[in-house]
Every structure is written in structure tokens, then in C-alpha cells.
């Protein structure tokens, strides 16, 4: 298990998430893709903490903070989606266009 392979794995996961974010229309599906990308970034953090970091513990901590921020972001985003669904009866990103001039 080398650092190079870990970075390639993370890049692959990030690209898969990017594809999902750009191709999906369902807002929850887009959120799931964002989670996938955040997870790929976390894999990178752990990989660099494990290999050659001057402060490996700091790397592990940074990844924990990133998980916590992702959880907070997800809570707010899902609350917004539930509220939006209640008002608009849709979660289609193309139909939510009030700000489209």
C-alpha cells in the first residue's frame, strides 16, 4: 500500500463524485455525490498523515474535524431540502429557479 496508490484511489473517488454532482438532477443525489467527494478528500488527509507527515497525529485530527464539519453541513443541507420539498413539492434542481433572471 503506497502513498501513490492511495492518492490515485482518492482521485478516482473524487472524480466519481464530481461526475455524480454534475450529472444528477435530484438534489439529494447531488448531496450524496458531495459526500463522496468529501470522503475522497479525507482519504487524502489520512494518506498524508500516515506517510511522511512531520505530525501524523495532527493529520488524523484534521480529518476528524473535516468529518465533523461535513456532518454539520449535511444536517443543514438536508433541513433546507426538507423545507424546500414542503413548499415546492419538488427536488429537481432544474425547477428551482426563482433567482434565474
Amino acid at each position: 500500500m503506497t502513498l501513490e496508490r492511495l492518492l490515485l484511489l482518492a482521485a478516482l473517488l473524487f472524480a466519481v463524485g464530481l461526475f455524480g454532482l454534475l450529472s444528477r438532477r435530484h438534489l439529494i443525489g447531488m448531496l450524496l455525490s458531495i459526500e463522496l467527494m468529501l470522503n475522497a478528500a479525507n482519504v487524502n488527509l489520512i494518506a498524508f498523515a500516515r506517510f511522511g507527515a512531520s505530525d501524523p497525529e495532527g493529520g488524523a485530527l484534521l480529518s476528524l474535524f473535516s468529518i465533523a464539519v461535513a456532518a454539520a453541513e449535511m444536517a443543514v443541507a438536508l433541513a433546507i431540502l426538507v423545507s424546500m420539498h414542503r413548499r415546492r413539492r419538488t427536488l429537481d434542481a432544474d425547477e428551482i429557479n426563482e433567482l434565474f433572471g
Binding site: 478516482l12 461526475f19 511522511g52 501524523p56 488524523a60 444536517a75
Partner: protein, 174 residues
């Protein structure tokens, strides 16, 4: 191929399959379940990198917390996820093109610096133990992370209260 490489290949394959399931499944509920699969694979990867506490946090926060919340949100808004939205072929093609070029770019960057990356030595196995991380998180000295830790608790509290306020039924909804 030695055992470690085989284990890594198996974990990586599971993670990528879970990720592909997440972005390709028509049903959003199936996508969320594929993401659970991918996150479990990530936790196993962390275990094999000796980041034990991160693996535990991954399972508890993501699988136990965030994805349960996601499944609830899907059930509340989209039924069993069958109300999927098709995206057009052109959109899928553009997305695949952009994601593919991103991947090619990063691959090129990584393979260019492969020599420098290979020189890095693995850290000792105890870099993510419960005791070590706990001491660092609660130590007010330099190098400790007490202030960020307390700020994080405030952020989580604010986010959860904010989520309740945003999702609550208001007068104008009735």
C-alpha cells in the same frame, strides 16, 4: 502480488464500486445504500492504515449519523426513492468528460511526483490512538487542539439548532 497489495486492491474495488453505485443508481435510496457500502470500505482502509480512531469516527458519524439522516430525508421527500429524475444524455456526457479530465490531470500530477512520494516513510502505527488524540484535543498547550475542539462543539450545536429551525413547519406552510 503480496498480501498487503491484495487487501488494498479489494478495499479499493469495494470503495469504487460503492461510489459508482452512488452516482449511477436511478433510485436515490439505492444510491444512499451504496454510499454506506463505500463508507464502510473507507473505514476498513483507515484500519489498514492504522488510523483506528478515524475508522471508528467514520463508522459512527457517517454510517451511523449522516446516512441515517439522509435515508430519513429521502423517505420524507421522495417516498422509497422511486420518484427519480432522469438526466439528459448530453448532461451525462459533459459530466463524464469533466470528471475524466480531472482524473487525468491528477493522475499526471501524481505520476510526475511518484519518485518523491515513494521516499516517504510510514508513520509509526500509534498515530491515531484514542489516548493520543484525546490528549491532543484537550491540551491547552501549544500543539494542543483545545480551542478548535471547543469551536467545533459550538459549530455542531449551531448547525443542529439551525437545521431544526429551517426544517420546522412555519405559519406560511399551512
Amino acid at each position: 502480488m503480496n498480501a498487503e497489495t491484495a487487501v488494498f486492491a479489494a478495499i479499493a474495488a469495494a470503495m469504487v464500486l460503492g461510489g459508482l453505485g452512488t452516482v449511477l443508481a436511478r433510485n436515490v435510496l439505492h444510491a444512499a445504500l451504496s454510499l454506506v457500502f463505500c463508507f464502510f470500505g473507507t473505514a476498513v482502509l483507515y484500519l489498514s492504515l492504522h488510523a483506528e480512531f478515524n475508522a471508528l469516527a467514520q463508522v459512527m458519524v457517517y454510517v451511523g449519523g449522516v446516512l441515517v439522516f439522509v435515508v430519513f430525508a429521502i423517505l420524507m421527500t421522495s417516498g422509497l426513492g422511486e420518484r427519480h429524475l432522469r438526466s439528459g444524455k448530453a448532461r451525462v456526457a459533459v459530466a463524464a468528460l469533466l470528471a475524466g479530465s480531472f482524473l487525468a490531470l491528477v493522475r499526471r500530477a501524481v505520476s510526475r511526483s511518484a519518485g518523491a512520494l515513494a521516499l516517504r516513510e510510514p508513520a509509526n502505527d500509534g498515530f491515531s490512538t484514542l489516548e493520543g488524540l484525546g490528549r491532543t484535543l484537550l491540551s491547552p498547550d501549544e500543539g494542543g487542539a483545545l480551542v478548535p475542539f471547543e469551536l467545533m462543539t459550538a459549530l455542531l450545536l449551531a448547525a443542529l439548532v439551525g437545521a431544526v429551525v429551517v426544517a420546522r413547519r412555519t405559519e406560511e406552510d399551512r
